[in-house]
Point group: C2
Chain length 238, copies 2
């Protein structure tokens, strides 16, 4: 049985500060933990309650699980794993890389990674101020996709400038998405909900594209916009 | 200044039980409250803090606002309005009606309404076990769309049966969405994340459609799937 000090140590991973300090993150729920194992990631430790006893796990009480869990309704199984490090970003030699500028909501970010996996976008590149992929709410929203999509984080402007590849940018004005043909290698750039693509990146967008508004409203959810753009590029490119 | 009893009364609207009992719901944030007013909906009362003083509102303290608000970070303006009643559902004479089967996450539901407004789907029809549109998290996620999309709630099976219109259903197996042509009037049926379209409704789907998977993963987020389907039908139909 884990000691009180261990429970305290691992429950600190609910906070970004400690995830970064220890280089560890948590994954909750049987499905996600199994994804982790199937992806060949060896957790440092797995906790489960008696009710959800998981092979090879340390059994904890319900109240200890509540302490460890970041979720309102702890699913009873929680793994702790080392943060993956996919190294620095390098521009693609083929294919389209999804680039996210300032997606701060971890749920939205997780949904985007899940869509990226579905549409075959294997690499996602995040501006430094995006939510962390290893935020528990993001991990949860990926539904396991976090083990199968590679992500890199960094400053977008210098790297986009150096890469000198086509940049398709989702904007409110641009070529209608449905009429846009694919070039590859290229970037697909999606901005944040509140501010869209940042001003310093707009001049780097070589192909402004837009999801036509057939009704009313001011904007789409960023996760929805990213998914529709990936849907289009995946259908046209395949 | 509102009395303690009034604060207590209106803060009860955070719970579904009391929203239904009093037929009232709350809308938070300047943008959403303005949408409400612009839509010609006359709130029963508007509360705001001194910092966010809103014309014609009752001024409350920060702590009273926290009591009234359903949000972790109360935006300081909160309106209370009567629940709209769009009456019973009647099958469309033209256009496509979005039908949602068991979308239980209020944030997802709100995002779907927001996408519906953007793509010109003016009517949304919800199974009785969907989240409530007037749940504060849903209202928030619609970004104002709740005033401009009409919604009806009820049992889907008998009504779909009676209507005898084409039913496009988003399933894991079906005609690829991109190859699907539109018929109107019709229904576009989207199921829940966890269970998809319920078994009793499957036989009523006349046109199974699927969003092709170009990569991997088990499914898409229901809000994402609904948005991509609406994007397709809106682009093909216009």
């Amino acid at each position: 049985m884990p000691s009180r000090a261990e429970i305290k140590y691992y429950s600190s991973l609910k906070l970004k500060k400690f995830r970064q300090k220890y280089g560890l993150f948590t994954v909750e729920g049987e499905k996600s933990v199994r994804e982790l194992l199937e992806a060949g990631i060896d957790p440092e430790i797995i906790f489960s309650t008696e009710e959800h006893a998981f092979p090879g796990s340390a059994i904890v009480s319900e109240s200890e699980m509540r302490q460890l869990s970041s979720l309102d309704h702890p699913p009873g199984i929680l793994a702790v794993a080392q943060m993956p490090d996919y190294g620095p970003f390098t521009p693609p030699e083929n294919g389209i890389v999804l680039v996210l500028d300032g997606i701060r909501d971890p749920g939205n970010l997780g949904t985007i990674l899940r869509s990226a996996l579905w549409f075959g976008f294997e690499t996602v590149w995040l501006s430094s101020d995006c939510a962390e992929v290893t935020n528990p709410k993001c991990i949860q929203a990926t539904m396991g996709a976090f083990t199968r999509v590679r992500w890199h984080s960094g400053e977008l402007e210098p790297a986009l400038r150096t890469a000198a590849l086509p940049v398709f940018g989702c904007l409110l004005e641009g070529q209608p998405l449905g009429a846009t043909s694919v070039r590859s290698p290229a970037f697909l750039l999606v901005g944040s909900e509140s501010h869209g693509i940042r001003e310093n990146l707009i001049p780097l967008v070589t192909h402004p594209v837009t999801i036509p508004r057939y009704g009313a409203g001011e904007s789409l959810n960023a996760g929805v916009a990213a998914a529709i753009a990936m849907y289009h590029f995946a259908s046209v490119g395949h």
